[in-house]
């Protein structure tokens, strides 16, 4: 007889906070630093309720000194602690980039593997709510470009909890990107598919394992984060036209589940990459290149198609933002175009 697993419905924000709380109970070396992570519980709720449980020694509100506290996370990790640092918006990382890409990402390598840096950097990404060019970017592609950082970009509460626990236990720097529009916040519209049943117990979702969210035979949509939900809606719409779209949620960019991408594209023969990051030199180009490198064994029935922000900053005005961030109708159009074209 199977043992029943106790679950309940959680938002992604609640799931992340629960993951952190369970790891803090398990391991006294885990602690959280960041702006507004204490009394506020994180601007996007990722540390909600933790201050009350663990106190200000382990849930530390910091000054607005990102270079200092992210550098401090590196220093504390080198001494054996397991810090989690939150930096509110990914757009803010410019002020402390040196500590991330020159130190956190490189010290393990430059030490010949002698220095371990178990740091989790978590931050909010994404637009869709008119916050304009300095508060709406995705930028995971930028960090995935730098060797030495693991890149986690969950799409739902179940994955977010398991991936966060895995992130905290990983002995390497992990950047954990949560999209604001799937956190289930009471003050921002979100995709309901991101709020899921979540087991009460602790569990991990391993890195480098993409998930087939929706099986299909005609076209593969490779995507992640909030775009997973847009892709599923688009897939349901084209199903009414007789097109069977498979949606693959990458879940982590580093490590990347290359095999899952190739397996799906080998099956469908058609690839669309749906991304909320900038189009140029980013995730969508990387996925397309991976498939291009395997064209000796995979035959495509249609040219690869990429959706992403068309190399402009995210504009403020609603119609402009909707024009540049791929929407469901853009995906539907891209699927039909792909089905209609031939190589």
């Amino acid at each position: 007889m199977a043992t029943a697993v106790a679950t309940r419905t959680l938002t992604m924000a609640q799931a992340i906070a629960e993951a952190i709380g369970q790891e803090m109970e398990r391991d006294p070396k885990v602690f959280v630093m960041g702006e507004d992570v204490g009394k506020y519980g994180g601007i996007f709720g990722a540390t909600g309720g933790l201050l009350q449980r663990f106190g200000p020694e382990r849930i530390m509100d910091t000054p607005i000194s990102e270079t200092a506290f992210i550098g401090a996370a590196t220093g504390a990790a080198a001494e054996g602690m397991r810090p989690i640092a939150e930096l509110m918006f990914v757009d803010f990382f410019g002020v402390c980039m040196d500590q991330i890409y020159n130190h956190l990402a490189k010290n393990t390598y430059m030490s010949g593997g002698n220095v371990k840096l178990p740091v989790v950097l978590m931050t909010a990404i994404g637009g869709g709510y008119n916050d304009a060019a300095q508060h709406s970017q995705s930028l995971y592609g930028l960090f995935a470009h730098v060797p030495g950082l693991k890149i986690v970009v969950p799409s739902n509460a179940y994955d977010a909890k398991g991936l966060m626990i895995h992130s905290i236990r990983d002995d390497n720097p992990v950047m954990f990107f949560f999209h604001k529009g799937i956190m289930g916040l009471p003050w921002m519209a979100y995709f309901e598919g991101s709020t899921t049943e979540v087991p009460e117990h602790s569990y991990t979702v391993p890195f480098g394992q993409a998930r087939v969210v929706r099986e299909g035979a005609d076209v593969t949509i490779v995507t992640l984060s909030q775009m997973v939900h847009k892709s599923v809606i688009a897939a349901e719409q084209v199903a009414m036209d007789g097109v069977s779209a498979e949606v693959l949620d990458l879940r982590t960019l580093v490590p990347l589940d290359r095999e899952a991408i190739l397996r799906s594209v080998a099956k469908t023969g058609r690839l669309i990459v749906a991304d909320e990051d900038y189009l140029r030199f980013g995730m969508s180009g990387e996925i397309a290149a991976i498939v291009a490198e395997e064209l000796g064994t995979i035959s495509l029935k249609a040219p690869v198609r990429r959706l992403g922000v068309p190399n402009v900053p995210i504009p403020y005005s609603r119609p402009l933002e909707h024009a540049v961030i791929p929407q469901v109708h853009h995906l539907v159009h891209a699927i039909h175009q792909t089905m209609a074209s031939k190589v």
């Binding site: 020694e57 393990t108 220095v115």
Partner: protein, 336 residues
């Protein structure tokens, strides 16, 4: 606080080791970099020879390293700068593995993947960075960790006077003061940020005065003297160990060589270094030891011979051991 005999002799011998390591490097670094062994038309080739790349040497700056590290235990952490050898040696980093790293050998501290500006020795709790001002934030973190782990460990973070105009300096001092972290901030004021003089870069004469902005003690050591540094650092380390928070110390020190080897130093008056060398801190400490009756000719000869042997052995080890295999480049992006 007066140094013990052991501390005095340790500072003296360590300064000799540092000076010999750096002066040996002056010549080793030039091997293979000069005509006729390089591309025709070049006067110097930075990428050639057994020690390629940039080379920043600390001859003249020994008192800062030994005056502080004389107070540190193995469990205490040091973060250094792009000019890191004197700090590493004073913190007890093995000379042979450090030299091997500088030669790019697989026996080096980082298996040849860091080089002279990126020396990591977790066992002796030493690291450094090639980025100006970048060692201070991680120093706050190691001090925070020490506190959380319930230890009395102290972190000493070294940086140049040029770094005191970086945001990382101010952010880190505020954080360390706010959280009462056991960090000692030591500014090496050698006057030159490559070619830019302190008077051209910094709004006030003494960076120690900046401590007042964060409510922590600020001390200026006016002479490039191991005993003066020892006294200032002793108070600061003791204060940090007692859990009373950080101190900022600025030490006037002297850079005898260029910013990097090969630097023509067109910006520096021709007689400046000759003048500085008249106040060499090593003979000064030797004289002090002799005056105290702690050193005679025989003991001095033994110390110098030991220092020479340590440096020679390290260079021999570095030359004799192997380069990494090319595949090594692909390992250790992530910890196993």
């Amino acid at each position: 606080m007066n140094p013990t005999t052991n501390q005095l002799l340790w500072m003296y011998e360590t300064m000799l080791v540092i000076r010999e390591f750096e002066e040996t490097m002056v010549n080793v670094y030039l091997e293979g970099k000069l005509p006729p062994n390089i591309q025709k038309g070049l006067a110097f080739d930075i990428g050639s020879g057994p020690v390629p790349g940039e080379m920043h040497l600390a001859a003249g700056q020994e008192p800062v390293a030994v005056g502080v590290c004389a107070h540190l235990k193995k469990e205490d952490t040091v973060t250094g700068t792009h000019r890191p050898h004197h700090f590493a040696i004073a913190k007890g980093v093995p000379l042979d593995r450090m030299a091997a790293e500088i030669f790019g050998k697989v026996t080096g501290l980082g298996r040849g993947k860091g080089g002279h500006m990126h020396l990591f020795d977790p066992e002796h709790k030493f690291s450094c960075s090639g980025i100006i001002g970048a060692g201070m934030p991680p120093a706050c973190g190691s001090a925070l960790a020490g506190k959380k782990l319930g230890t009395d460990w102290v972190t000493a973070t070294f940086f140049g006077e040029g770094a005191a105009n970086q945001g990382s300096f101010h952010e880190s001092l505020n954080l360390a003061a706010l959280w009462k972290l056991p960090v000692v901030f030591i500014c090496e004021d050698n006057k030159w940020a490559i070619s830019v003089e302190k008077s051209v870069s910094t709004a006030i004469p003494s960076n120690a005065d900046r401590a007042a902005a964060y409510g922590v003690p600020g001390v200026r050591v006016e002479h490039n003297d191991a005993l003066e540094v020892f006294a200032a650092a002793g108070d600061a380390v003791a204060r940090a160990r007692r859990g009373e928070g950080p101190t900022l110390i600025e030490v006037k020190t002297d850079r005898y060589l260029g910013h990097f080897q090969g630097d023509a130093e067109v910006y520096r008056p021709k007689d400046e270094v000759a003048e500085l060398r008249k106040h060499d801190p090593i003979p000064a400490l030797e004289g002090h030891l002799r005056a105290l009756g702690l050193l005679n000719d025989q003991a001095d000869a033994e110390i110098r011979s030991r220092a020479h042997r340590r440096v020679t052995d390290a260079y021999d080890f570095a030359r004799a051991t192997a380069y990494p295999e090319p595949e090594e480049a692909l390992y250790h992006v992530f910890a196993a």
